[in-house]
Amino acid sequence: MKSEHIDMSIQHHPDDELLVGHAAGELPEAWSVLVATHSALCLDCRARVYAAEAVGGALVADACPVEMKDGALEGTLARALEPRADTTTRAVGTRAEMRDTKPIFPQPLRDYAGGDLDGLRWRRLGRGAYHIPLVSGRGAPTARLLRIPAGRPVPEHGHNGLELTMVLRGSFTDGGQRFGVGDVETADTDLEHQPVAAPGEDCICLAVTDAPLRFRGVFARLVQPFIGI
């Protein structure tokens, strides 16, 4: 299946059921941020999301109609013609159009990060690594940015659920595979994985997890309660 992917520079994609869940509007926000960010860079996954949305469209077109109230058409038109501001909310941040250079982060991610890579305030995570929480909530999947120093491993960890890691800058290797910009690594509970950033450049990732990570290092265990990861 995955060999059909058109953009050969991206080798690792999110699973189809995540793309379908995103299109259906059923994914928790953290997963959807990752799917949308990946889709901005991956033509093939964007096409798959479109196809899944077309399924939603066909299902709605085939739904049993439920009668609207009397005067609904007139009411809707009156509502549509009311002047109003576009309610699309965007985080304060640099809109790409105003910049000289192409942003590193695609748009849905800039909304959540409050801007592009160059304006971020990183929080220390220990061992030279940094992070920025983007989406979090009790019991809900969390999304955050991770910055792993060049040539260094992410602190060894296992986790309780699914973890997706998308590379935004630089690259890392894990289990003999290379993950470059746009690639998404899918890791399960079973997988005791150890991503190592490639030498030469810090690796910036978008990491989404179901459940709080269980870092193994003594130091990480000590700080975990305080930094809330």
């Binding site: 959807s32 901005a40 038109l77 549509a80 695609p106």
Partner: protein, 213 residues
């Protein structure tokens, strides 16, 4: 796999077993093969054509209302959301591109985004077509406009060719606000089976869409 992925706990109301009975109404049919050209009508709406809007409204508003009801709205809320969705269709019709999607697809995404906004109080993250960081779609051709006209018909045909099991998981995903975990509980099948059914069903639909392009 199933235990491993169980953590994918998508939020949403608890399973609604009774809704399953409604599914049979949605068995794909071919009744609409002679239906109006919704894509062209939606383009007319972008030019403020009220007659075109009335035609779209008559067809889609009751179906969007049905979608909202199925997803757990009460009747007043469903009416409200359907009206709001169609009002959004009027206001944003100029953003609709018939080379990129069928009208039904675009209207579905408008309704879906409204629902997420209304129930979860957040936006649906999506790539921005004008973002310089986006890898742009290949240029659209006239063929693509023609091709998307057939989307709904082709998908309906593809849905009809799926096994009942496969169709059911898709309908539950899109229509019943059920996470994959909840679907596995509703149907009493392992989560891994839910996921593989979705993947198979979606793969078959994609093949059918591509074959006929």
């Amino acid at each position: 796999m199933s235990a491993a992925r169980r953590g994918l706990s998508w939020s949403g109301p608890s399973s609604q077993l009774n809704r399953l009975k409604l599914l049979q109404h949605d068995k794909p049919s071919h009744q609409e093969d002679a239906s109006p050209d919704w894509n062209a009508l939606l383009c007319d709406v972008a030019r403020q054509d009220r007659a075109a809007f009335a035609a779209l409204f008559a067809h889609f508003a009751p179906r969007v209302k049905s979608y909202m009801l199925r997803l757990g709205s009460d009747p007043m809320q469903a009416e409200e959301l359907a009206q709001e969705a169609l009002a959004t269709v009027w206001r944003k019709a100029d953003r609709y591109d018939p080379a990129r999607a069928a009208a039904s697809t675009w209207i579905f995404t408008v309704a879906r985004n409204l629902r997420i906004d209304a129930f979860r109080r957040r936006n649906h993250p999506e790539p921005d077509p004008n973002d310089p960081a986006l890898i742009p779609d290949p240029p659209a051709s006239a063929d693509m406009v023609v091709s998307h006209k057939q989307d709904a018909t082709r998908i309906r045909k593809a849905l009809a060719e799926l096994s009942d099991d496969q169709r059911e998981v898709l309908q539950l995903s899109f229509f019943d606000d059920q996470t994959h975990t909840q679907i596995s509980q509703t149907l009493g099948i392992p989560l891994g089976t839910v996921k593989s059914r979705i993947r198979l069903a979606f793969g078959r639909i994609r093949n059918l869409l591509e074959d006929e392009e």
